[in-house]
C-alpha cells in the first residue's frame, strides 16, 4: 500500500520476475544469447534514475531477499504477479520458471499470484504440463512469449491453429488472463515480428479471455492502441512505459500516457514494474506524483486523476485476478469518482 496526500493506493505489481541469468545457468553453446539477453535487459535498467541502477553481477542473479525488500518492504506492493519466461534454449534451468516462482510464492502466502505459461509448439505434452501447473499452482493467468525459440522454430503467432488449441484448453482450465509479450525475435525474419494483429484476432475469437498486451506492444504502440480501442477485452500492460520513459524521457512519457488514456482508457491499463529490470518504489512514487506538463500539445488528452491512478496501480489488476482489496483501499462509489473527473476537466 502506498499513501500520499491522504490517499491510499492498493498496489498490484502485475508484471514482475525472479530470474537467474548468471553464467551458472547458461546453456553450453548458447552462452552468447544468454549473455546478450541479460545485457539487453540491463541496458533497459539504465533508463531508470541513476541511484536505482545495479551492477550487472547483481542484475544477473539477485536474491530472494533482494526481491522481498525491493518489491514489498521498500516498494509498496501488496500483491505481485509472477510472469514466467522460460527461454530454456539459452538458460539451463529456464530464465524464470513457474516452479522457481512458486518456490518463493509458497513461502509467502497471499503475496504472489503464480501465473504459468504455455508454448503451443509443445504439442500434447505441453497441454498436460499446463493442466499440471494450473492444478498445482492455481494459475489464473499465463504469460506468452511469442518470440521464444523452440526446437528450431523462432516464434509463433497467437492465430496459429496450435495456439488456438492451447487457448481453448486454458479457458477450460479456468485461465482468465493472457499476458502477451511481443519480440524480440528473428522469425519469421521477413515479417514484422512485433506485429500485434494476431492478438486482435484471438481477442475477438476468445471474448471470455482478457488479453493484456505487455509493454503496450512496444515498439508498436500505435498498432496496439488502435487495436485495443476496438477490442473490449484487450488491456495495456504499462511495464516499460513507466520504467523506460517516465524518468528518462518525461516528455515522451506524457505523450504515450496521453495516447493510452485517449485510445485505451484508465479502466484498461495495469501497472507492472518489470522487476528486476526496474524497482517498483520510484515508479509508484513518480506515477502518483505525475501530471501532464502544462503545454498546449497535451491539452487534448484525457486527464488522469487520483481515482484513475488507483485503478492503474492496482484496482484494475485486482479485478482481473479477483484479488481481495481492503475496503479502505477501494474507490469511493461511482458518483464521487465522476464528480472528481468533472472537477478535473473544468479546472
Amino acid at each position: 500500500m502506498y499513501e500520499k496526500n491522504g490517499e491510499k493506493y492498493f498496489v498490484v505489481d502485475s508484471h514482475m520476475h525472479f530470474w537467474n541469468a548468471g553464467p551458472d545457468n547458461w546453456v553450453p553453446g548458447a552462452e552468447q544469447y544468454a549473455k546478450g539477453w541479460i545485457e539487453c535487459f540491463h541496458a533497459y535498467q539504465s533508463l531508470a534514475p541513476k541511484e536505482t541502477h545495479w551492477p550487472i553481477e547483481k542484475f544477473m542473479s539477485y536474491t530472494e531477499d533482494d526481491l522481498m525488500k525491493d518489491v514489498f518492504e521498500d516498494g509498496y506492493v501488496d500483491v505481485a504477479i509472477f510472469q514466467p519466461t522460460y527461454l530454456k534454449e539459452w538458460y539451463t534451468e529456464g530464465f524464470n520458471t513457474t516452479e522457481k516462482n512458486a518456490g518463493l510464492g509458497e513461502k509467502h502466502p497471499g503475496m504472489f499470484v503464480l501465473n504459468t505459461r504455455f508454448d503451443p509448439r509443445d504439442g500434447d505434452n505441453g497441454l498436460v504440463e499446463l493442466k499440471a501447473n494450473v492444478d498445482r499452482y492455481g494459475s489464473r493467468g499465463v504469460k506468452l512469449y511469442t518470440a521464444e525459440w523452440n526446437n528450431g522454430s523462432r516464434g509463433y503467432k497467437l492465430t496459429d491453429p496450435a495456439a488456438y488449441r492451447y487457448l481453448e484448453k486454458a479457458q477450460e482450465l479456468g485461465i482468465k488472463n493472457i499476458h502477451v509479450h511481443k519480440g524480440p525475435t528473428i522469425w519469421p525474419l521477413d515479417k514484422d515480428a512485433f506485429d500485434v494483429s494476431d492478438v486482435d484476432h484471438a481477442a475477438t475469437d476468445f471474448p471470455e479471455l482478457n488479453f493484456i498486451v505487455e509493454h503496450v506492444g512496444l515498439p508498436r504502440i500505435e498498432d496496439f492502441c488502435f487495436m485495443a480501442t476496438q477490442e473490449p477485452n484487450v488491456y495495456a500492460g504499462l511495464s516499460v512505459v513507466i520504467g523506460g520513459l517516465m524518468a528518462a524521457r518525461p516528455h515522451f512519457f506524457a505523450k504515450v500516457m496521453g495516447e493510452l488514456l485517449f485510445w485505451v482508457g484508465e479502466d484498461k491499463m495495469t501497472f507492472g514494474s518489470d522487476y528486476g529490470i526496474w524497482e517498483p518504489k520510484w515508479q509508484i512514487e513518480g506515477f502518483v506524483d505525475w501530471e501532464f506538463p502544462d503545454a498546449p500539445e497535451f491539452a487534448d488528452y484525457p486527464r488522469l486523476g487520483v481515482e484513475g491512478k488507483k485503478k492503474i496501480l492496482g484496482l484494475n489488476a485486482a479485478k482481473l485476478y479477483d484479488l481481495k482489496v481492503p475496503d479502505e483501499l477501494q474507490l469511493a462509489d461511482a458518483a464521487p469518482a465522476a464528480q472528481d473527473d468533472a472537477k478535473l476537466v473544468t479546472q
Binding site: 539487453c40 524480440p184 521477413d190 515479417k191 514484422d192 504502440i221 500505435e222 500539445e297
Partner: protein, 237 residues
C-alpha cells in the same frame, strides 16, 4: 583538407540518406555509425552498431544493405567494406550484404521473402507521422480541422516538415503534385474527407508519438551500451 578527409565527409553525407526504417531517422544522427574510415586510395570501411544485441534483424539487414549501396555508389570509392558489429545475426547479415545475396538467401530456411513489404509498412507509418507534423502547427494556429479535408499540397504553407512528408509520400508512390490532397490514406492514396478526418489526425498523432517513444528508448539503450558518439551523430536534445 586532404582528399581522404573530403571523401570521408562525402561518405558520411551519403550515409545520412540511410534511415532506420522504424525510427525514420538517419543512421548517422542516431549514432549507429561507429566507424567511418576512408583511405587515400578510396577504400572505405564503415562499421554499424545498434542499441541492443537483439535488435530486429530484418531492420538491421535493411540498414546494412542500404549503407553498402550508398557508399559503393560514390564515384571516388574503390571498395566498400560495410559491416554490423555486436549483433546476434552479424555474421549472416554481413555475409549476405557483402555477397549482395538478398535477405531471403542470407537467411535461407528462416525467411521466404524480401523486405519490401516491411519497408512499405514503415514508410506508411512515416507518412502518417509526417502528416501530424505538418497539420499540428496549422491547427495550433487556428485552422479549422474541417478545412484540412479539402486542402491540397499546393495550398499547404511550405515548411521543412512538408518537404519531408512529400519525400516519404514519393517513396511510397503517393501523389505529391500541388493539386494532390494533403490528407490521404497511406495504403491506398485515397483522400481522407468528412468525418474520417478527425480519426485520421488522431492516428497521425499516435504514429508520431510511437516513433518518438521508440527513438527515445533506442537512444537511451545505445548510450548505455556504448559511451561514445557515433560518426555524424548529432547531440541528443
Amino acid at each position: 583538407m586532404t582528399a581522404a578527409v573530403a571523401e570521408r565527409s562525402r561518405v558520411l553525407t551519403a550515409l545520412d540518406a540511410v534511415r532506420d526504417p522504424e525510427l525514420d531517422e538517419p543512421i548517422t544522427t542516431l549514432g549507429f555509425v561507429s566507424e567511418c574510415i576512408v583511405s587515400a586510395a578510396g577504400d572505405v570501411r564503415v562499421r554499424l552498431r545498434l542499441p541492443t544485441y537483439f535488435c530486429a534483424p530484418n531492420f538491421a539487414f535493411l540498414m546494412v544493405a542500404d549503407a553498402y549501396d550508398v557508399v559503393s555508389a560514390l564515384p571516388e570509392v574503390r571498395s566498400a567494406d560495410v559491416a554490423l558489429e555486436d549483433h546476434f545475426a552479424s555474421a549472416e547479415i554481413n555475409a549476405g550484404v557483402a555477397a549482395r545475396a538478398g535477405f531471403a538467401v542470407s537467411f535461407a530456411g528462416e525467411a521466404v521473402g524480401e523486405l519490401d513489404e516491411l519497408r512499405r509498412t514503415f514508410l506508411s507509418k512515416a507518412v502518417l507521422a509526417g502528416t501530424d507534423q505538418v497539420c499540428r502547427p496549422l491547427l495550433a494556429a487556428g485552422l479549422d480541422p474541417a478545412a484540412l479535408a479539402t486542402m491540397t499540397i499546393g495550398e499547404t504553407p511550405p515548411s521543412a516538415q512538408l518537404e519531408r512528408l512529400c519525400r516519404r509520400r514519393a517513396e511510397l508512390g503517393l501523389r505529391t503534385d500541388p493539386s494532390a490532397p494533403l490528407l490521404v490514406d497511406p495504403g491506398t492514396g485515397d483522400p481522407i474527407t468528412g468525418a474520417a478526418v478527425s480519426l485520421h489526425l488522431g492516428r497521425a498523432r499516435l504514429a508520431k508519438v510511437g516513433i518518438e517513444a521508440n527513438t527515445g528508448i533506442c537512444r537511451g539503450m545505445l548510450r548505455h551500451r556504448y559511451g561514445t558518439t557515433g560518426a555524424g551523430e548529432e547531440e541528443d536534445e
